[in-house]
């Protein structure tokens, strides 16, 4: 994976010093909070309900074991013993003291990490495919390009105070695993007929209050022009994006307002001034970065391992885990194993310090000391020998990290919600937990099969509810927490935005709502049809009719439900 050279080290070191001085000036009142807030946000420090939250950048989701051990250390020394992986492949800590935040950054710098631009109206951490470099369906490894974008966007002087936050995702596979359609810019690394590498460029996708899928503004951008073309997009947006209304400030609103064709034309015009200039990438520069992403020392192995096949046939638990949590690898005899952070009873994406140390050990022993974070908030060991999967499974299971539920009902994407976040209208974690408890039976989950259940505690959509097959959105009605349900959203190659089924529900009704939706699916599905395909085939009406057919009684009316 990428390693810092003297320039990266220097820039991050100077950032720590700059930030430390900003904190000092805040504490001595030289900076007022309104001035400091924007500075600390550009360094990932949010003031939440109970304390500060620090979001640390995990560039395109790649981690080395020594970095994961640093997270464990930070969790113990500066937080309450755990961290939370996010849908932007980052990690955040929820109980941070302002005075200690510069020290955390200094410690992170020792393992080549930072919190630069993990919040604020700037270019955020670029996300990518968690199976980059190992996926069987990969066309081009997106990681070198993701790193080039990281360097280009880090402290870009012109684009630090954009109208709103700006997110880029990059994918290089047949299957889009990076949710590129719901990003401000989505890049698909592809090859043209001549075999040359370039990008298909989508712009103006997003979630939040106005969910929109990105529009393609260029079908093939030769890779050398990546930086100047991104610069052109950002310059148009910086000048013409709305700044009068925070809810209309994302690039998607600009693209929608003037139309993708006109937006593309403006970008093209801007680009002509800088195209072929010094920002044009060189073969040498691509090679310098690509050298960090060469293949590890794979052994030559048979495509199948007899002992592995035997164990799979004998041990149903192992077979379940293989079926859901293990993905095909491009190298014979290897596999990518997903460690589920969605065990029932644990907030989705949460991980303890001990588990962090443990997964770092697993990475060292099974997967060339590397880990990846998925935007579904799980972890991946990308290079595991098939013959070692059983031993890995046993170990992971003993630490609560082998729930065989990847892509299933309880693999819920969920934001921190009202328990932590000051933006939230409603809690999201307890909803995820109640649903997980109700449908904890793994055989039932395997029978339901592929389904994406996403929960956001407010319209900002950190829990990606718009693209959940079932989406749940927390809303505030007269001070009480309610939940709106949508159906038919999807990410990936056939992305779609879910449709709201009707009036919202109370927290206690939610497990029954999900149960009724699943009943309709089970009754209506044809053979191996996935939930999303049934919804697409029959529409939302049958689901809607059944969910609202009779009142949903709640056994207990307590807490927020007791409020009228």
């Amino acid at each position: 994976m990428y390693r810092y050279d003297q320039y990266d080290h220097l820039i991050v070191k100077e950032r720590v010093a700059q930030y430390r001085d900003q904190v000092r000036r805040r504490l001595s009142d030289e900076l007022i909070e309104d001035e400091f807030r924007i500075l600390r946000l550009q360094n990932g420090l949010y003031l939440q309900r109970h304390a500060y939250m620090l979001r640390i950048a995990v560039p395109y989701g790649l981690l080395a074991s020594r970095q994961v051990r640093m997270f464990a250390h930070i969790a113990r020394k500066y937080d309450r013993g755990y961290g939370h992986f996010t849908t932007r492949q980052n990690i955040q800590f929820n109980w941070i003291k302002l005075e200690e935040s510069p020290d955390i950054l200094a410690e992170l710098a020792t393992v080549e990490m930072h919190a630069i631009q993990t919040s604020g109206n700037c270019i955020r951490n670029t996300t990518s495919d968690e199976l980059a470099g190992v996926a069987a369906d990969e066309i081009v490894d997106p990681r070198p390009y993701a790193e080039l974008i990281r360097e280009w966007s880090t402290f870009h002087p012109e684009f630090a105070y954009l109208p709103r936050k700006f997110k880029i995702a990059i994918s290089g596979s047949e299957q889009d695993r990076a949710a590129t359609a719901v990003h401000d810019i989505g890049l698909h690394v592809i090859k043209n007929d001549a075999g040359e590498v370039g990008f298909r460029v989508l712009v103006g996708g997003g979630m939040g209050r106005t969910p929109i899928l990105g529009s393609q503004i260029r079908d093939f951008l030769p890779w050398k022009h990546a930086m100047s073309y991104l610069e052109a997009i950002l310059r148009v947006y910086n000048q013409y994006g709305r700044r009068d209304n925070i809810y209309k400030a994302r690039i998607k609103i600009l693209v929608k307002a003037i139309g993708p064709e006109e937006f593309a034309r403006q970008v093209e015009e801007e680009w002509q001034h800088i195209k072929d200039g010094p920002s044009t990438l060189t073969e040498e520069e691509l090679q310098r970065v690509a050298n960090y992403f060469t293949e590890p020392a794979y052994e030559t192995l048979p495509a199948t391992d007899a002992e592995y096949e035997r164990l799979k046939a004998e041990d149903k638990g192992f077979a379940n885990w293989i079926k859901r949590n293990v993905k095909q690898h491009k190298v014979p005899g290897y596999a990518a194993a997903i460690l589920s952070l969605k065990k029932t009873g644990v907030p989705p994406g949460d991980i303890t310090a001990d588990q962090l140390d443990f997964v770092a050990d697993l990475a060292d022993r099974y997967s060339f000391s590397e880990l990846r974070v998925t935007h579904e908030q799980n972890l991946v060991l990308a290079d595991v020998k098939q013959s070692e999967l059983y031993a890995l499974w046993k170990e992971a299971k003993a630490h609560g990290l082998a729930t065989p539920n990847i892509g299933l009902l309880t693999d819920i994407i969920c934001c921190p919600g009202g328990d932590f976040c000051s933006l939230a209208n409603a809690k999201s974690i307890p909803i995820a937990q109640a649903i997980a408890e109700r449908f904890d039976n793994i055989d039932f989950q395997h029978d339901i099969g592929d389904i994406e259940l996403n929960i956001s505690g407010c319209i900002n959509a950190c829990g990606h509810h718009h693209v959940g097959n079932i989406g749940i959105l927390g809303v505030d009605k007269d001070g009480a927490e309610w939940y709106q349900v949508s159906l038919g959203g999807a990410q990936g190659n056939t992305s779609s935005i879910g449709k709201i089924i009707g009036p919202s529900f109370s927290a206690h009704q939610m497990p029954t709502v999900i149960d009724r939706l699943l009943q309709v699916y089970v009754k209506q599905r044809i053979e191996d049809e996935r939930f999303i395909d049934t919804v697409r085939r029959i529409g939302i009406t049958p689901f809607k009719d059944f969910v609202y057919a009779s009142p949903i009684k709640t056994d207990q009316v307590t807490g927020e439900d007791a409020c009228v």
Binding site: E14, I32, E33, Y161, R235, P278, E285
Partner: protein, 197 residues
């Protein structure tokens, strides 16, 4: 400790007029330019432009061009929603048609001024003094300098000598802008680091 928001004590009108000190070419210097801002009810056509070193709104320059053209000491400032191309004609034959061009930052978080500055320099070839005025603070100066500003009228309630430090926050940068025409990969020999843990 949590630092809660305190009441903001922003001056009623950003005091760019009569700024006694500015940062120019990396040093603090005295300054006797005045920024003309239209008061309520005043129009670009009707406002009286006082004599002396004055920086007028772009719209005033455009409306009163005939009268102002002969002045030796004249500057023009851009609002953040104005485009640098408005001065395309002026800059066509003269890379410094005014003694100073200023760009206003109504709030420091309004980043349009960065693109205005960049394009004034890079696209339109302006070579004279480019001054940031308005909500100009220490922690943005590094970026402002990078996109082409060489003068900074730091907000009057801030210590300008302290703000000067903002120009040297970083000694290296990855990407090109006005100050560095070449990105790092064209300037430095960067070798792939080989480290085995």
């Amino acid at each position: 400790m949590q630092v809660r928001s305190k009441p903001i004590k922003l001056p009623e009108k950003t005091p760019v007029s009569n700024t006694a000190l500015i940062i120019k070419d990396k040093v603090v210097v005295g300054d006797d330019w005045t920024v003309l801002r239209l008061a309520e009810g005043e129009t670009p056509e009707g406002v009286a432009v006082p004599a002396g070193k004055i920086i007028v709104p772009l719209k005033v320059w455009q409306a009163q061009r005939a009268a102002l053209q002969g002045r030796k000491e004249l500057g023009v400032w851009f609002a953040s929603d104005e485009r640098p191309e408005e001065l395309k004609d002026e800059l066509k034959n003269d890379p410094a048609p005014f003694q100073v061009i200023a760009v206003d930052f109504p709030k420091f978080a309004d980043g349009r001024g960065y693109s205005i500055a960049y394009n004034l320099r890079a696209r339109l070839g302006y070579t004279g003094e480019l001054r940031a005025v308005g909500d100009v603070l220490r922690d943005q100066l590094f970026y402002m300098q990078r996109v082409g500003f060489n003068a900074f009228a730091v907000r009057a309630d801030k210590n300008i000598h302290d703000a000067l430090k903002g120009l040297t926050d970083f000694s290296e940068k990855y990407q090109s802008s006005w100050d560095e025409k070449n990105p790092l990969f064209r300037r430095a020999k960067r070798e792939t680091v080989v480290t085995r843990d």
